[in-house]
């Protein structure tokens, strides 16, 4: 997290160009430019990228709040209320509860007009595009590997500057299809995707879940162009060895009334670390909307 050489020069966080700032002891903001490489079919930044952004905000606050203990993300939820179209998208987080073994953080995601704290101030109390929560598990007495011997401390402001994405962010995951029915994808574990603890970054797992769900929707007969709006991510174990492979169940549509439009999809994506004995690493509940009438999902 911008300390002790993390992330390396070639890293997804660097290519996303995220910059972050601590604006108070318990408040952090992080921004990203809404480039064409990271947007979904509705023109807003993809849910998996927003999950990466809020995980970074939450992680930064958790490091400060849990200091000198080590912490890992236990769960993350992201619920979108409209597309986050930018030109910059900013996540603002705050600690809700610091317990002995867990830390709960909430974050809002906002469109802002430019970079820097002035843009944040200008945005004022504009309604958020998404709302997120995270739980971090605190491991007492373990200091962050990223922080060396100094304890986990962060600068007040930092940025990840890389060469930038050369294409759609999903291409950066180097995914391959592993099943004929869609929704079963495989992702190699590379340094490019790791967090400071040497495991696949939590936001990357969320992005992988987003992609797997969308492919499963299409595989189940749904129209293309669906957009993921909701992610509920439970991190059960770290993905360290790889490849990370997905297994997806499409649950079908939600609601029968006019408000739901019959075009809302849900799926459950399980991510396994195949190289680690096939251990279940992450479970993600995914909600999405599709632009046209849906096909009936499997019962």
């Amino acid at each position: 997290m911008g300390a002790a050489g993390y992330p390396p020069e070639r890293h997804l966080l660097s290519d996303l160009g995220i910059e972050a700032e601590s604006i108070a002891e318990s408040d952090t903001v992080a921004r990203i430019r809404a480039t064409p490489h990271i947007v979904a079919a509705d023109g807003g930044v993809r849910a998996g990228v927003l999950a990466t952004l809020v995980d970074l905000v939450g992680g930064s606050e958790a490091i400060r709040a849990a200091r000198p203990d080590r912490m890992v993300t236990a769960d993350l939820t992201l619920q979108m209320v409209r597309p986050a179209v930018g030109p910059f998208v900013e996540a603002r987080g705050r600690v809700v509860r610091r317990g002995r073994t867990t830390l709960v953080i909430e974050a809002g995601v906002f469109d802002v007009s430019g970079e820097g704290s002035q843009a944040t101030a200008d945005a004022g109390d504009a309604p958020p595009a998404a709302w997120a929560t995270m739980t971090f598990a605190i491991h007492a007495g373990n200091q962050s590997k990223a922080s060396g011997d100094e304890g986990p401390r962060l600068p007040a402001r930092w940025s990840f500057t890389g060469a930038g994405l050369e294409g759609p962010v999903v291409d950066a995951l180097s995914l391959s299809e592993t099943g004929a029915g869609g929704g079963e994808v495989s992702m190699p574990v590379r340094e490019y995707l790791l967090n400071s603890f040497g495991a696949v970054q939590g936001g990357v797992m969320a992005l992988l879940g987003e992609v797997a769900a969308l492919r499963a929707f299409e595989g189940a007969g749904g129209p293309g162009g669906a957009v993921v709006t909701d992610l509920q991510v439970a991190y059960l174990a770290t993905g360290r060895v790889g490849p990370i492979v997905s297994r997806t169940r499409v649950l079908g549509t939600c609601g029968d009334g006019p408000g739901t439009g019959g075009s809302r999809w849900n799926a459950v994506v399980e991510l396994f670390d195949e190289g680690d004995g096939g251990r279940l690493a992450t479970v993600i509940n995914v909600g999405a909307v599709s632009p046209g009438p849906p096909a009936e999902g499997p019962a």
């Binding site: 809700v96 509860r97 073994t101 709302w131 439970a234 029968d256 006019p258 408000g259 849900n266 279940l280």
Partner: protein, 298 residues
């Protein structure tokens, strides 16, 4: 000699479980793994919401009962308390009965994660909800749970005097986007704190009322308007139903009354997201739960 709660296969929060007529049975491990737990609940008419099926708060009450029990069984002689629930609701209209199936996804030293699937057994097992729950492992101290294994309990009979969900949970409308719950003894779990399902039901009712109030007040997000009608009874705040829900159980509610304070975050296409902060008024108004509820038009 500690207090021994002999549960004989019935959820320690038996009042809540009996209200929803929850049947339970344990599925013993096949290859040395952990037991799984299943449940079945009818969808009685007085528990249906505006979506036509079991009100989401009620659904999550049964989920909490089954998931919490399984998590507790997996760490005995220790026991657990639910710390978070992430629920994706796929269908709001149910024929019933609903069947629940819970399995342990991860059992750690400090926490247990359980995954639950709910299907509409009366309608071709169509998926109703998928839920992930996290529970913190606690030292039970003097309080010990003894169970006859495998767990097996019959479905309680219908009540001759059925109460609506809001009446059973003691939920009453407050001003604008505030909704109250009276912390009655039958809503407490063995730790003496408010049952997680009661929190889910309060969040459900409060969020629907907040959206109705927000619309009545011009949609400024404050919920300063007045909820359409009394916001109570079979349909809740008319034409609105709670769908996906995330709850973080931050601190125990012991004193009461409990108050849900809502903020409408925004939405589109008939789906509105509401932040629900639950405070224990009798404990210096401290924040005890934080939830988000997706309210949909039905």
């Amino acid at each position: 000699m500690g207090d021994v709660i002999r549960t004989d296969g019935v959820d320690p929060g038996r009042n809540v479980g009996e209200y929803f007529r929850l049947q339970r049975w344990e599925i013993p491990p096949v290859n040395g793994g952990l037991s799984e737990l299943a449940g079945r609940a009818p969808v009685d008419d007085h528990q249906r919401g505006a979506g036509g099926g079991l009100r989401t708060g009620g659904l999550l009450t049964s989920v909490d009962s089954i998931g919490g029990m399984l998590a507790g069984l997996s760490v005995q002689p220790q026991w657990i308390v639910t710390t978070s629930m992430m629920a994706t609701v796929t269908r709001l209209s149910h024929r019933g009965p609903l069947r629940l199936h819970a399995r342990v996804l991860r059992r750690g030293r400090n926490a247990v994660v359980t995954g639950l699937d709910v299907v509409d057994e009366g309608n071709r097992d169509l998926p109703v909800a998928s839920v992930t729950m996290t529970s913190a492992v606690l030292d039970p101290g003097n309080m010990q749970h003894h169970f006859d294994r495998p767990i097996r309990s019959a479905m309680p009979p219908p009540s001759p005097n059925p109460q609506g969900i809001e009446e059973f949970f003691g939920i009453e409308a407050g001003a604008g986007a505030v909704t109250h719950l009276d912390l009655a003894d039958h809503l407490r779990n063995p730790w003496g704190i408010l049952h997680g399902g009661a929190v889910a039901t309060l969040a459900d009712v409060a969020a629907c009322r907040a959206v109705a109030a927000d619309r009545a007040g011009g949609g400024n997000g404050s919920g300063d308007g007045t909820a359409d009608g009394d916001g109570r009874g079979r349909g809740g705040a008319g034409g609105l139903a709670a769908g996906d829900m995330v709850i973080h159980y931050l601190r125990p509610s012991r004193v009461g009354p409990v108050e849900a304070r809502c903020k409408v975050i925004g939405g589109q296409d008939g789906r509105t997201l509401v932040r629900v902060a639950v405070h224990d008024v009798g404990a210096d108004h401290r924040l005890v739960d934080l939830a988000s509820v997706a309210v949909v038009e039905v």
